[in-house]
Symmetry: C2
Subunit: 196 residues, 2 copies
Amino acid sequence: MARETRIEEVLAGAARLFARGGFDGTSMRAVAAATDLSKPGLYYHFADKDALLFRLCHDAIARVLAGAEAAVAAADGPAARLRAVIGVHFAYFLDHPDALVVLNRERRRLSPDRQAEIGRLERRYLDLIRTVLRGGRDGGAFRRLNPTVAAFTVLSVLNGLDTWYRADGPLPPAEVEAQIAAILTRGLAAATGDAP
Amino acid sequence: MARETRIEEVLAGAARLFARGGFDGTSMRAVAAATDLSKPGLYYHFADKDALLFRLCHDAIARVLAGAEAAVAAADGPAARLRAVIGVHFAYFLDHPDALVVLNRERRRLSPDRQAEIGRLERRYLDLIRTVLRGGRDGGAFRRLNPTVAAFTVLSVLNGLDTWYRADGPLPPAEVEAQIAAILTRGLAAATGDAP
């Protein structure tokens, strides 16, 4: 198995344990056992539990950010750009629910330098959403709201998914995503706006 | 000083410590020191740290729920009812930001029975919001969205406040609340709806 694939497996296993038992409640021994590694094997990849948590948080926010940046660049118009961010975040959440639980709940357990690095990536993500909202506001597609308040409203809805969404719920995921996107896009749209 | 007032002070001090240092990172000794109690004095009021955390979480969700129930009963029409819930939750957050941080972040540290009791209150709060949204949908004021998806969207925005709102931010709190309420109310309103 390719080394990167194996590391992805280890990360997925660690995310599952951290999401269920919490960072403090999960030992490196438990991560090693759950991912079929020896403890030295696990420590070969990650110097300590903080390094493992950092990699999980970093991968999650960096991938959502990179995906959202690409999707925004490819989208045409403010409503489509907002819809693109929601689509990327929702898709990452569906594929990596544990990773976003860990990012949301456990990143305060990181050492200060690493917490600051995650904070810088989250700031870039916030700035991307603010830029989309500000552009829509200045062009007249979105109402005249404070872009920071509006961006955190959008982010709160996306970051809240892990507290309630269940893959085995009654609605198909695409329908849940469409309803959330409709509430936010309509909520931000100018009265004569281009939202669905 | 009246006993209840003193207990409120102790709870506020404990909430501040738990919100900043985490439940696991805060000792009963630290709570006693920060609230000018002896350790036996603190243990006289709360049998252990779990009992203290439960009281904090219980007060927060029970007060938001009771306030929201009363405000919904007094409001006229679906949009006003939704607006009333947002107003009660926002006002409680402004007055007790630490209590809502503790409820959101630390309630998973509670013993299972107590966590279940908090879960029952949160379920009643969710049901209240769902009932408001379903009523608005069935009466034609709100669009035809799944009430559970819509209710968790509203709750995510309210529960997300503690991750970003700062009392010393550039907008007055009433303006932040109005903008959030406008996004949600407009986002849920039928095309011909009664939202602002």
